[in-house]
Symmetry: C2
Subunit: 117 residues, 2 copies
Amino acid sequence: MPEFFFDHKLYYTPIEFALEHIGGTWKMPILWRLQQKTLRYGELKKDIPHITHKMLASQLRELEEKGMITREAFAVVPPRVEYTITDKGRKAIPVIETIMKYGYEMMKEAGIEYPKR
Amino acid sequence: MPEFFFDHKLYYTPIEFALEHIGGTWKMPILWRLQQKTLRYGELKKDIPHITHKMLASQLRELEEKGMITREAFAVVPPRVEYTITDKGRKAIPVIETIMKYGYEMMKEAGIEYPKR
DNA sequence: CTGCATCCCCTGCGATACTG
DNA sequence: CAGTATCGCAGGGGATGCAG
């Protein structure tokens, strides 16, 4: 488990560095939606239950900065902004899938019924 | 992405539930060490660079509560306490491995040399 | 519709010190 | 050697309001 600096921040393990890209409550759910198709801000907002305006906006910005997604704004009124997953972002999909499956497994062990979608 | 209550806490996605078990800065590094063999508190402390006494103790307690590890205390002086991964804990290992590999991949993309451990 | 700023709370985590 | 308690800070994240 190496340790290193990146972008003025100290990381102790590759795990930490990985979670910098997909960690937090919302980054994985966002990437998960975008793997299927490009979505508008409002579509993401509707698709992801309980996410607040602030969190969606800030997480999208962070994902864009890290090159996980791209942002395309259209000069129309009302504004239309589309978010698309990048190749780099797609590399996270299998990881997210693994974590989700693990989550479902733990839910099952805990006796939590799969809410039907 | 279902939503449910468990243990007085609201979860929005299986991802959140998964991270409840292996999330945070230290749970994965701890489980990673224990997959090989049972370790004493002090051994873990030495093996995991930069972890503080407080965090190691608290994370061990949380992992124990979730049934990921077991704790065995020996009635000797000085005290001797050993931690062992459980079958449930072992289920997290492939997930951790996936995340670590992803972390290394991201490090490579970011131009970070593998510190030669 | 989308983005950005503000205020505020709560939690994770570090530092330190005391105990058996 | 291992555990617990206290203090304090920084950052994640919610609620709300304003702007183009």
